[in-house]
Symmetry: C2
Subunit: 181 residues, 2 copies
Amino acid sequence: MNQPGAGTPWERLEHETVFRCPYYTLERDLYRLPSGEARNYHYVHTGGSATVIPERADGRLVLVRQYRYLMRLPSLEFPRGGMQPGDDALVVARKELEEEAGLVAGELQEIGRFAPYNGVSDETSYVFLARRLTETASRPEATEELSVEVHAVASLQALARSGELRDGMTLAALYLYLLRR
Amino acid sequence: MNQPGAGTPWERLEHETVFRCPYYTLERDLYRLPSGEARNYHYVHTGGSATVIPERADGRLVLVRQYRYLMRLPSLEFPRGGMQPGDDALVVARKELEEEAGLVAGELQEIGRFAPYNGVSDETSYVFLARRLTETASRPEATEELSVEVHAVASLQALARSGELRDGMTLAALYLYLLRR
């Protein structure tokens, strides 16, 4: 069933930014397929994102519940923040951990990365494990109405199984965390 | 640390489509926050997607490796296809399984769903477990140069741990599959 070509890069011929908003841009590339055919690719461009898994001394994890307009639901998620091009993922992780969860970490290390939506967005999300946590004042941004929740892994697994935890980036990060244990 | 409001819906005041391509549209909503402030939200709109986990009789899973232009890498993923608004996820799952993996399933059932990129896209991906598989002729689409690979779960876990498997939707779907076993 194997076919050749799954690893052949596509050549970019043209590039333009067709739309801008504060969180991302929409780009158009004209590219050439290995077959020689030229096509347009329209995609979301971001500087990446940082996802933080805060692990307390008792082993439980800290998440935030926030209303997600596009899901029309409150969504349980690990703290996460978008990066602007050139941002350092570690710096953004530290900032989001403080702003969303009200926590400062004595230890913050990358445990993996993934592409959340690779057909449409060039985003890579960098996953950090945060340990040795201390509380600070929580300062959510104006559009983010957050509640902070602490869950045992078994509780998160039950919520994922039932469909209540349905944020894909949180599911992917949780899986990377569990693989590492 | 808890704050009120994480579940408060935002009211939509205006809506327009600002960009169209064959795979998605870019929409603008003017919405009102619970605070009363009105803001614009620009987001990607799709009809959803169907992710298929083909499980062979020997327990190994079937994936496809395809070049992802936005990652500039060949990416190992479960077969997946976009839905147009109104599409039935089960029908799309069956079609993608055949077109990408060259397989027909005697049993195809939904095991979960998730939102892959909920800050920017309204997409829900429906995850199907495909069993009682038989081979048919693989018919990849023109832009999809695929190779089909068969992996034991332990192999996928090793690839996820090493960072070679870094498609977020595949990681989320694999985790939902493992929870169900």
